[in-house]
Amino acid sequence: MGLKRGHQAHPIEWLVERGIFLVATTAILMVFLIFVFVAREALPVFLGQTNSSLVQEVLPVEKMNTLTPVELQKYLGLSAKQYRELDRESIRALMEVKIEGATEASHDKDAGLNTTAWRYLIGPHQWTGYERPAYIWQPVSQIHKYNIVPLLIGSLKVTLVALLFSVPLALGAAIYVSQLASTRAREWLKPSIELLAGIPSVVLGFFALLVLATLLQKLFGYQGRLNALVAGVALGLAVIPVVFSIAEDALSSVPRSYTQAALALGSSRWQTAWQIVLPAALPGVFAAVVLGFGRAMGETMVVLMASGNASIVSGSIFDSTRTITATIAAELAETVFGGHHYRVLFMLGTLLFIITFVSNLAAGQVITHLKSRMEGKR
């Protein structure tokens, strides 16, 4: 590709070009590999191949002498190699443990349910001890309850609060800095707002936990100290620099001729900014908001520390809330590797990826639509 000037590329140039190409594609490759890894771990849940039922067939210990090795391996969940390495004594111990596990399993009416089936993952169910059907996330329990609805609501609620708080602030700041501020003010405003991005999220979380929670409680007088509002506002602080920087770039890159034409026709600076520059920069501003949404959905540490992490279904922003990211961070370390809890957490990770991916895709569509409308193509 490119211009042909009638001479061949130098072999070293060719090599360097390939090298740079490789480096450029590495990032894409990494993202792809990460997605493949996460999706592979989650696949059994999506395909309905996991089973969390506690009721299982148990055989008496004496049966170990009558079963064939293959049947025994299947019953005890052993690989052929493991089976060869174990002596009779160990096999006997395994048979006994299996019986202990079965007697310890509860006699709950729900014990036989496969709670990782989609019906229980997204639909309400009346579990033993509950008065009415409910969406319950209680993965460490006699009956493992993996309903993801409270977590989805939690994530969306916190994100919404964060965007409602941060987008007006960030956009206002971007319009002021790019259009209205004097050069001197702009010189120190822009870097200081962008400095917010440099605050580690764990520090933000700590600040929210100790200072923001008390402050907001005094201001609004609600009951629970840690809730979606506190987490959302703290998250908003992390989102502001992202939205600000991209929106400011978009506003600054509107051609100067637009501004000059508007001013020449007698508009004030305020009218120019609001009615000419902002509409012209709309695709870029919209992209900034979408990136802010992605940042808010994926942020973990702030919400883990400031949201209280109670997995309830509630529309109120003054209730504690549990997000998908905080759930994965808090629970993954203690799960049985490859077990159903582990798989469900990976399924949540995949879901998060899909949500941000779809929102970015939809945003891309909206942006091209806005652009073509602005350029007068439709």
Partner: protein, 285 residues
């Protein structure tokens, strides 16, 4: 002069030759429960001071993490604040052919914490169960002011969470509105700032926070989580803390260390950290 130098060189050479073998011979790793980690570090520190040729490394991460490491043979000792589960025993048998050996190493009383302004002084086990499962929602129902109860719990990866759920809630689920805290220290912080709060945690963390007396039944008097009450079994919410070990390696240094932990000397340290020592009949001689 020459002779002296030679002596020094030989001594240094002997030390060098001896060093790697002692390092290899006396290195013990312990991993698991975060509840036990402070105590395990204290044991290791004092024991290493006495046996300079033994090196002990202690890390936390949670009881489940410790069991996983025991199965992978990446740790010698697994510290645990709960009993091992059948599924984990099965994995251990698959890995080394035997059940891991269980040692009780200390007692822990779980305290119930409330805000310092809360006038309620004692609760029964039954009331606690109702509060933490969300059946009782107001402090008025248990003799306090007319205010909602705000429940603080631990993350479900914690051994303390599982223990409390099994022994106080009798296996039922925590109320969905229970807020989960990443550690006992964070929980105490939250309880200190919220006047309607109630939470639970190891007795070792309790300094400065208000804890409740607990009644085993409605008829019995409330009991403080004191050493006598926990060791005598009158305080109703207590548990053993355990160390699990692969029986194939439970000899030489490791056996000596485990025996020392359960001796009078090792148990003296338990009290210093804030847990409760084993009763005399469970100690090693």
């Amino acid at each position: 002069m020459n002779l002296k130098a030679l002596k020094h060189i030989t001594a240094a050479a002997m030390l060098l030759a001896a060093a790697p073998s002692t390092l290899l011979a006396g290195s013990i790793t312990a991993k698991g429960s975060d509840t036990l980690v402070i105590l395990a570090q204290k044991w290791a520190e004092v024991y290493m001071g006495k046996h300079t040729d033994t090196k002990i490394q202690v890390t936390g991460g949670g009881s489940g993490t410790g069991f996983a490491a025991l199965q992978n043979r990446t740790t010698d000792l697994a510290n645990a604040s709960r009993k091992i589960k059948p599924a984990e025993v099965a994995e251990c048998i698959k890995a080394f052919g035997k059940r891991p050996t269980e040692y009780k190493v200390a007692l822990d009383g779980l305290s119930i914490y409330v805000n310092a302004e809360n006038p309620v002084g004692e609760l029964s086990l039954e009331q606690l169960e109702k509060i933490f499962t969300g059946k009782v929602k107001s402090w008025r129902e248990v003799g306090g002011p007319d205010a909602p109860i705000v429940i603080y719990s631990r993350e479900n990866s914690s051994g303390t969470y599982e223990f409390f759920k099994e022994h106080v809630l009798k296996g039922a689920d925590f109320a969905a509105s229970a807020q989960t805290m990443p550690g006992t220290a964070a929980l105490l912080q939250a309880v200190a700032k919220d006047k309607n709060a109630i939470g639970y945690g190891g007795a070792a963390y309790g300094a400065g926070a208000k804890h409740l007396k607990v009644k085993a039944t409605e008829a019995t008097p409330g009991v403080e989580p004191s050493q006598e009450a926990v060791m005598g079994g009158t305080y109703p919410i207590w548990r053993y803390l355990y160390i699990y070990v692969n029986p194939n390696i439970d000899k030489d240094e490791i056996a000596a260390y485990l025996s020392w932990i359960r001796s009078d000397e090792g148990q003296k340290l338990v009290h210093e950290i804030g847990y409760y020592p084993l009763p005399a009949d469970l100690r090693s001689k």
